[in-house]
Each structure stands twice: as structure tokens, then as C-alpha cells.
Symmetry: C2
Subunit: 269 residues, 2 copies
């Protein structure tokens, strides 16, 4: 049952600007027994992304109730989409538009189940992300780069593809953020030019701070990934996973993923 | 009456990938007395853009019939949108998706009527277009840059905003392509890195060739615009318009716009 503005219609106006221009933002979060996980972080990020595009963010209590009402039984995911609404033709935003909110539940994908392997194999994508600081970090609806990058492989043994920007810096995975451990410190790519600054990444950075681990948000060349003690990917659906193989490079476990996995679920702040 | 897959429903599945990711392409064309103008060029461009994203392009005869059936009486516009269709969650394209086609008519906007002034005032936008060669030239649904750029002004005396890429080259207008005349030759920005290669631009380049005018597709810095004999913007709705003012710079007519306006409507090839 997909809720559109609270109604279980599953349909949107064909003139919605989310469809016309990708003029909106979204979140994908896990649900368990009808409750969203990491709700406070997700709502905060949704509000920040809405603000970045000048969208009115839906009321928190109402949205929370809709997520709970729509969620599947047991373990699941919910996608929340907020668009600028249905409007007239043209890029200019007409006054008085009302945002569209879509709450779309789905069962937990098999790759995200607790029984799925913690270790994953990843590859490099050839697509290079364009750098647009005005949109960087935001989980907006303009995701053709992700679609094109994900189309670069169909081998089910490959869990994720890693992307560089057009300046050669590693940004993250197609659907995940990247963290690397080296020499006792934790590094994650700077996302001020492109990429999505996800909630799992933010939680891992906070968890690392609680654990007394020094963190660095930095420009990381591919060589920095290959030289890492441990490489991890994360998002709100899969949590954190250890990268065991990247093309011909393989890593034995160094203990980081297990440590961070436990800390990721602690809502200490 | 908005046709969605030929039906006058005006609604799309909330799970459509056009909405989820901007995974699709579009066209906006003029109609007159229920017939699309420049149809052959528009269909060819639609097919090329679909091919660039790996989308099945709708059948030409069926789409033409839908455009004719949806068009308003008299002068109007029709937007054609083709998306990858409604699918499951995630960036990977599942097999067997059926594209969604949307044919959306509207009255001709006042600024495009024959009685609208041929001369326009434009401004520079501060947003810089990101360079993504994999998407450059395509009229895809990822148009947040255009939305943000158009939001930079609300003075109705400003007809259009001009955009540079992040390397400083002028790319075009928010909703139009750019042509400049200098020393008898015609120049238009290279769109291999970003921007939309519109049908009006293509027609003007062909018209110029018929008229024996040398054309150049090139990297144009802002100084090349300011040094031009005549500056023009074009798209399929407005045709070609003369830029009379760009911030503090003003140009008297040099005759180019009138010449090209006539040639633009000739379907000589």
C-alpha cells in the first residue's frame, strides 16, 4: 500500500514536478514491526534536504504515523519521497504549490537480511560523477548517474560499484557510502562536490567519535582505498558491510566492521 | 487531458522510475490546430535520447496520434515524457519493465505567442552546470540544475538566464540554447559536457548551412558572448529570439534573428 499524501492510492498526478524534473528528495529507511529505525536521523536529514531545495518538509508526527501505518509486518523498508508538487509547465516554481509526499513500503530485500553475508565484493564503476556543489550531499530525485552506474554490471556476485568523481576522487558506492580504516583512524570521502551524505555514514561517524576513533572527511584517491586496513560500505538498509574484495584486491578482516556494526545501532545521542 | 500510455487518466504509478530517479526523457513541442510542429525532428531526438538511456522509444505513429489527439485547439504545446516505467525498488533496472509515456498538452504560454516581443533581456545565473558527458545533450528528467537556476530571479522583465559550466564555458539558457553571430559566422556552445542539445538549435544549424553561413560548435567563454554582433536564444516553443540586453550590455539589432527566424520554420530537409 503506497500512501500518497496520506491516501492509499498509489498514484501521483502526471504533472508532478518530481516526475517532470526530479524536483524532490527521498529517504529509504528500515522498518521493524511497523516502526522505522533511526527515525530521528532520517527525519532530520529529510528536513535538511527539503530545506536545501526550498521544499516544505512534511510534519514529523504525521509522516511518522504514515510510515508506521504503511510498513510491512516484520522486517521491511519504507521509501519516503517529497516532491515540490504538481504544477504548471516550466522550471519556475509557481506560488502556492503543495508538496507531494509518498510513503512506499517494501519487504526487506534478501541482501539486507540478517542472514546475508557480512562480507561483500565490489568493483570500480567507469562512470565518473559530475561535481555539483549545489546538489552535493542531498538525496534528491536526480539519480540518473546512479542508474547508469548500476547498469555497468549484472553479476550477482558483485554487491556494489564504487564511483569516483571526474577529478579522480573516490566518492562512494552506487547505493552506499564508503568508509576506510587505516592506522587506527577512520576515513570517509568528502561529499561537498557530489555524492549523497547518508544517515548510516553520519551515524558511523558519531559512533566512531564515541569510541574515541579519529575520523577524517577527506579527498580519497583510489590508492587510499587499496592501501586501507579495512574498507566498509554502509547505508540505512544494509547497515555496515566489510568489503572483502575489490576487483583483484582482497582484504582479510581487521575487526573494524564488527566494532562499527555494534555501535551503528546504538542511539546514544 | 493528459494521456498516460494512451489513456486520459492524468495519473502515474507512484513507483514509476521517472519519479523515483528521473529515469526518463522528455520533449516539449509546439502544436497548431492539433498538429505538432517540427515533428520529424522531435521524434528523432526523442528516439536518440531514449537510446542514450537504453529506453524503448514509443512507436512513432502511435505517439503522433496521441499528440494530435491531446493537443489544445489553436496554438499550444505538448510535453512528451518517456520513463523507464514502474518497477521495483533500487537503481538496477529489472527485466521486463514497460516504459511509461505521458502526453501532456497546454495552451501556448503568453511569452511564446506571435505577438510577444522578439527582443528579450537575459541575465547571468550564478549556478554552474556540472559536466557529465554521459548525460550531456540529452533532455532527461534530471533537471534540478535548471530548477535552481530559474529560481535565481523573479523579475518578469528577465526572460532567460544564461549558464556557464564549472569550467567557465557558456552553455546556454535555463530553457533555451544559445547562438551568437560574429564576423559573419554563427557560433553555438559545445554541449558534449553538459546542457541540452535542442531541436531548435539543430534546425538553426541546418538552416545556417542552407544559407551558406559558416557554423561553429565551440567552447565559448562569456567574453565571446559580450563580443558578439548578435546574440540569440532558441527553443521549440519560442523559436529564436534576439537578446537585446544582458545585464548592463545592450545590442542593437544586426539582422541575424530575422534571417534565422524565417529559415527556422522551413522544413527543407
Amino acid at each position: 500500500m503506497i500512501l500518497v499524501n496520506g491516501q492509499p492510492t498509489g498514484i501521483v498526478d502526471a504533472g508532478d514536478r518530481g516526475l517532470a524534473y526530479g524536483d524532490g528528495v527521498f529517504r529509504t529507511l528500515r522498518t521493524r514491526a511497523g516502526q522505522p529505525l533511526w527515525w530521528r536521523d532520517h527525519y532530520r536529514k529529510l528536513a535538511a534536504d527539503c530545506a536545501a531545495l526550498g521544499l516544505a518538509c512534511p510534519d514529523e508526527a504525521r509522516l511518522h504515523a504514515e510510515v508506521c501505518g504503511a510498513a510491512v509486518a516484520g522486517e521491511g523498508v519504507v521509501r519516503i519521497t517529497v516532491t515540490r508538487g504538481a504544477g504548471t509547465r516550466g522550471y519556475a516554481v509557481p506560488p502556492g504549490l503543495v508538496t507531494t509526499r509518498i510513503v512506499s513500503p517494501a519487504p526487506l530485500p534478501a541482501y539486507a537480511e540478517d542472514t546475508a553475508p557480512d562480507d561483500v565484493t565490489v568493483r570500480w564503476c567507469t562512470l565518473r560523477l559530475a561535481r555539483q556543489p549545489r546538489l552535493a550531499g542531498i538525496k534528491h530525485l536526480n539519480r540518473l548517474e546512479n542508474v547508469l552506474a548500476r547498469a555497468e554490471w549484472d553479476d550477482p556476485a558483485i554487491f556494489e560499484g564504487l564511483l569516483c568523481d571526474d577529478g579522480g576522487a573516490v566518492i562512494g558506492g552506487v547505493m552506499s557510502n564508503l568508509l576506510v580504516a587505516r592506522g587506527g583512524d577512520l576515513y570517509t570521502p568528502d561529499l561537498s562536490q557530489c555524492g549523497v551524505a547518508g544517515v548510516a555514514r553520519a551515524r558511523l561517524l558519531r559512533a566512531a567519535a564515541r569510541l574515541g576513533i579519529r575520523t577524517h572527511i577527506d579527498r580519497l584517491p583510489p590508492a587510499a582505498i587499496l592501501a586501507a586496513d579495512e574498507v566498509m560500505i554502509c547505508n540505512s538498509v544494509i547497515g555496515v558491510r566489510r568489503v572483502a574484495r575489490l576487483d583483484t584486491k582482497a582484504w582479510p578482516p581487521a575487526g573494524w566492521t564488527d566494532t562499527l556494526k555494534t555501535a551503528l545501532d546504538e542511539d546514544a545521542d
